[in-house]
Assembly symmetry: C2
Homo-oligomer: 169 residues x 2
DNA sequence: TATTGTTATACTCTATAACTATA
DNA sequence: TATAGTTATAGAGTATAACAATA
């Protein structure tokens, strides 16, 4: 256990850059001037935290963020085509197929070949899907609210604007 | 192309909630009061944007954020054990094995069985690994700076604090 | 008994390429 | 020719379970 203990901050020698240190193993140190000041690293860590809580909270992990946002889009846009789902979520159309397959196998959506343009598959929620979506929305709101609570209204507003600046720039 | 055009905001009827609409297909609409106000959705979108630019910018996509942060940790903590890498990055120890394998196969790190505790594999960067890491750091800084530029110093400082509030809460 | 590393396995998410049918 | 959907395939990333060596 010697090595594990040397990683413990309580055993660091005087003079070590304590505040800025994440890990101090075998004398090495990594400062806050490296990873934690990178925007990308912080966004990644926040996303991982939110992803995990989503999985632990919503629908017992059965539905994750990707599938949820897909179902949400279908629910809000009855008859939306897969290509539009792909464009909305910025993923390849091929990647949408398997996701819609899963929603269909779960009995939450139905594909209907468009009569106007027979290349298009129109996606609709089933009654069961609409019900599931309503339940998911409640659970997701609850999950999301947990984190929104960490901020004042003004802070949250600004936070969302910062995030949007990144993906809409 | 009729259906695609019906998705275009320019063809929406008067009275439609234009500002709040992402997609309007088959008469359906999804408002900004759904997805884009969810903290999780915004973090996810920002992360995807950063991830993509990272892949397009850094090391010609050869090294992605996960592998980079692993190599960074090893570089800053010579002799760190795999279990400590796992704990630092909040992933299972089993997941670390394949990542270290790849770093080792690339010739950037070396495993050395600890003499103090023979269960532990100490990870060190090779000279080639140190060189690669230095180059990666420059490229990552450059990539990251692109997005930092979207913010004033004060904004960036606040933004990072917001993100940390989520994953350190 | 507990810990470290490992292997086997599986699942999510995503991408590319090639194909079908439709436009 | 171009578009929408599909299939096949691959790779990154992660998790769990079971195991060996070591503590």
């Amino acid at each position: 256990m010697k090595r594990a203990e040397s990683l413990d901050s309580t055993k660091r020698e005087a003079g070590a850059i304590e505040m800025d240190t994440i890990v101090g193993a075998a004398g090495g140190q990594i400062g806050l001037d490296v990873l934690p000041e990178l925007l990308g690293y912080n966004v990644r860590r926040a996303q991982i935290e939110l992803w995990r809580d989503f999985g632990a909270t919503v629908s017992e992990g059965e539905v994750r963020p990707g599938l949820f946002s897909l179902l949400l889009l279908v629910g809000a846009n009855p008859g939306i085509a897969q290509i539009d789902l792909a464009n909305q979520l910025s993923v390849d159309k091929a990647s949408i197929v398997a996701l819609v397959d899963r929603l269909e196998e779960a009995g939450w959506v139905q594909r209907k070949r468009s009569t106007e343009d027979r290349r298009r598959q129109e996606i609709f929620t089933t009654p069961a899907g609409a019900k599931k979506l309503a339940q998911l929305k409640r659970e997701v709101q609850e999950h999301d609210a947990k984190y929104c609570k960490l901020f004042t209204d003004d802070e949250l507003h600004q936070f969302l604007e910062f995030l949007q600046r990144i993906y809409r720039h």
